[in-house]
């Protein structure tokens, strides 16, 4: 290893990065865009849900139900007088739910049990389930108001008091922002590196490097360090925006966050290097990085979807993904704190992955004549 040779390689790589606007765009512009989008745009929490309220014969009671839905910040009510009109609105996609008070609602309320029908547009099942829950809540509230004078038979016998730890208001940004860090690190680590290295292979410039006194290990260092720095810059950007702009808490320590991120970034870089040295073609390397690194980081990492609920075979695949461990670490570090019983095993797995990946890459890049 020679410091002078490595510095020269680093300089060359840095120049290349700064001269090509596309790497900067990926490493800096994309993260900024994504964080603003995740912070301000994307949310799993419905609001202003358009709902049709079917009242066949309006009375003060039905007006009370309407008011309960209208007061809820989740709903926007359109009152119609027949079920057919409501169904038409739903088919045209103008409302996402129908609340129907049965005929003679008032009278049946007095003699016993009055039916309220809630129909939701079920295509987006997750949203539908949330809407259903909100509708029950609004009805419960209305009943509570009605019964506040007399005995409260609407409540109980068993009442669930629920608390969500680490995210009491159930703000979906709290888990979207840590997930975003994973995406950004995967993009710079695996995708960018795979492309850059594959280009050298494809153009034969790597062979040109081989005839120089530069060693394989030095080439790898020269290639990875600049992208490592780019990735860490992305982390800094995302974590600080999340913390200061969107008030996502960072309950763990900054030091641990930096350390585990550096570890994951190295694994991602190793993966990118391995892909490029196997495929040696930009087209294929780019595609594989996309398919084997980026998309699984979205779908199979536990970032959005719960991994415990997927079939066993798919779950086994997810154990092979470094992103899975990193997502678990980030969610814990951001929201719960430094929990060593999670940090140590997850880091150990990533460390093993790192060694395997770099070993394989080094063997594949060994100078060949």
């Amino acid at each position: 290893m020679s410091a002078r040779r490595i510095t020269a390689l680093l300089r060359k790589e840095m120049l290349q990065i700064f001269r090509d606007p596309s790497s900067i765009a990926i490493a800096i512009v994309l993260p900024i865009f994504l964080i603003l989008l995740f912070g301000y745009g994307l949310s799993l929490d419905p609001k202003d849900i358009p709902v049709a309220l079917v009242v066949e014969n309006p009375t003060p009671v039905s007006a009370g139900v309407g008011a309960a839905f209208g007061l809820s910040r989740y709903f926007r009510i359109t009152t119609v007088t027949s079920m057919k009109k409501a169904e038409d609105l739903m088919r045209e996609g103008r409302v996402d739910g129908i609340v129907r008070l049965g005929q003679n609602f008032d009278r049946r309320l007095l003699i016993g049990t009055a039916p309220i029908q809630v129909i939701v547009q079920g295509v987006d099942a997750n949203r539908a389930r949330i809407i259903e829950g909100y509708a029950r809540g609004a009805i419960g509230q209305w009943m509570g108001q009605r019964n506040s004078a007399g005995a409260d038979s609407s409540v109980g016998p068993v009442v669930v008091q629920s608390r969500i730890w680490f995210n009491a208001d159930s703000d979906s940004r709290y888990f979207l922002v840590p997930g975003l860090v994973v995406l950004i690190m995967t993009i710079t680590g695996a995708l960018l590196t795979a492309m850059v290295m594959a280009r050298e292979w494809e153009r034969g410039t790597l062979e040109a490097l081989f005839v120089t006194p530069v060693r394989a290990g030095e080439i790898l260092i020269g290639k990875t360090v600049p992208y490592f720095l780019l990735g860490m810059a992305g982390l800094l950007l995302t974590a600080s925006t999340g913390r200061f702009l969107f008030h996502v808490p960072l309950r763990g320590s900054l030091l641990v966050l930096t350390a585990v991120s550096a570890l994951y970034l190295c694994v991602a870089l190793g993966f990118g290097l391995l892909i490029s040295s196997i495929t040696r073609s930009q087209f294929v390397a780019g595609q594989i990085a996309l398919i084997a690194a980026f998309l699984p980081a979205v779908f199979l990492s536990g970032f959005i979807f719960d991994l415990a609920s997927v079939p066993k075979a798919v779950r086994l695949v997810s154990y092979l993904l470094p992103a899975r461990y990193y997502v678990s670490l980030l969610q814990t570090l951001f929201l719960a704190g430094d929990i060593w019983s999670i940090i140590i095993p997850d880091c150990a797995v990533m460390l093993v992955m790192l060694l395997v990946l770099f070993g394989l890459t080094l063997r594949k890049t060994k100078k060949r004549l």
Binding site: Y40, S43, L44, Q117, V120, N147, P157, V158, I164
Partner: protein, 371 residues
């Protein structure tokens, strides 16, 4: 006529270039199928294995009945019975359980004396959506327990009984929503990348210049470059569609004749975006990274992962130029609602407009670069 023959020759050459290389053939055909399969299983908000722990201070018949209903629901797996309040923290912190159900020591006594009995449920909010869904399941189970308890003890039922029903997806399975949506998502990625990269590769290897000195007109080159991608896209769509219908058994309510026109427009629009990217990109690296810079926002703002109606109004307007948004709605409407052309027409004409715009923009850019 002459022009048609030239275009056909170019399309043939392009198809051969992609399909003759075993590695790129693999990349074009296998991943959509594999991804459809894996993500089809993974991309679900439904829970079926919620690990939970119990801290039952009452240990009465009533509390056992309540817990038996949770265990019997098929969704929850009890992993521990806690004997101490302090264990709750560690079992949640370590992610062994995502839910802890705590029953106070006066549970049965309060129930029998007609007072409301509290059950504390603590959820791990590190993924608050999962936590919310699990709590929703608990609420449903509690409702069932309550009505069973009331009828067993001869208590009066509550004055209002809400009944809920879902249209088009009666059991509210997220998979029915995600997989038809994946048809658009997976092909969008492939269309943009394949098109952008195939032009950039020619440019980087200098064969694009050779193409330009042939009698081909720029418009013919554009058609020759885009038609093969559209054909590959149709194959990919059909593969994922078959997977959805025959493997995942999602009921296909509509007609293929209503689905494919929209899909075709979408593919043309996506290829147009790929061409736009390649017309700005000078190298393959720029083409790939450029595709990536385009795909990410398109995917995020498609409404598949998070509903468009939850977004702020300004961003909702931005999604109007996103072709993915429309094809996902078309897929859902045809697939689940069995919608006829009348109901999907509002999604078709924006797609046609977007396709026309992206293609003509790309042609214009190529012309400009050639001058």
């Amino acid at each position: 006529m002459e022009s048609l023959r030239r275009i056909a020759a170019l399309i043939w050459k392009e198809l051969l270039a992609i399909l003759k290389d075993p590695r790129s053939r693999f990349v074009v055909l296998i991943p959509p199928l594999l991804q459809g399969l894996v993500f089809g299983y993974a991309a679900t908000y439904d829970l079926n294995r919620v690990r939970y722990a119990v801290y039952d201070q009452d240990r009465s018949d009533a509390s056992r009945q309540f817990l038996a209903m949770i265990d019997g629901s098929g969704t929850f797996r009890r992993i521990a019975n806690l004997g101490d309040q302090r264990e709750i923290k560690s079992i949640i912190d370590d992610r062994q359980a995502i839910l802890v159900v705590q029953i106070g020591s006066d549970f049965e006594r309060r129930l029998l004396t007609g007072q409301p009995a509290d059950v504390q449920v603590i959820a791990d909010g590190r993924n608050s959506n999962t936590a919310g869904t699990a709590l929703n399941y608990i609420a449903t189970i509690t409702d069932a327990f309550n009505s069973r308890w009331r009828s067993a003890k001869g208590l009066t039922s509550p004055p209002v009984e809400p009944s809920a029903r879902a249209w088009f997806n009666p059991n509210l399975e997220t998979r029915w929503f995600m997989i038809p949506g994946l048809i658009g998502m997976l092909t969008l990625v492939q269309m943009i990348v394949i098109t952008a990269m195939s032009v950039a590769r020619e440019r980087e290897q200098g064969t694009f210049d050779q193409l330009l000195v042939t009698p081909f007109r720029p418009i013919e080159i554009m058609i020759g470059k885009s038609a093969p991608s559209v054909l590959i896209g149709l194959v990919q769509v059909t593969m994922v569609l078959a997977l959805a219908i025959f493997w995942f058994r999602i009921p296909f309510q509509g007609s293929l004749l209503n689905l494919y026109p929209g899909v075709l427009l979408f593919l043309v629009a996506a290829v147009g975006i790929g061409l736009m990217v390649s017309s700005v990109a000078g190298t393959m690296q720029q083409a790939l990274l450029g595709s990536f810079l385009t795909i990410t926002p398109l995917a995020m703002l498609s409404g598949l992962n998070t509903p468009i109606s939850n977004m702020p109004a300004g961003i909702q307007y931005v999604t109007l130029i996103n072709p993915l948004r429309y094809v996902i709605v078309i897929a859902h409407k045809v697939f689940l609602e069995g919608a006829s052309l009348r109901y999907i027409f509002p999604e078709m004409w924006p797609l046609a407009l977007i396709a026309a715009f992206t293609l003509s923009f790309a042609v214009w850019m190529f012309h400009r670069r050639l001058m």
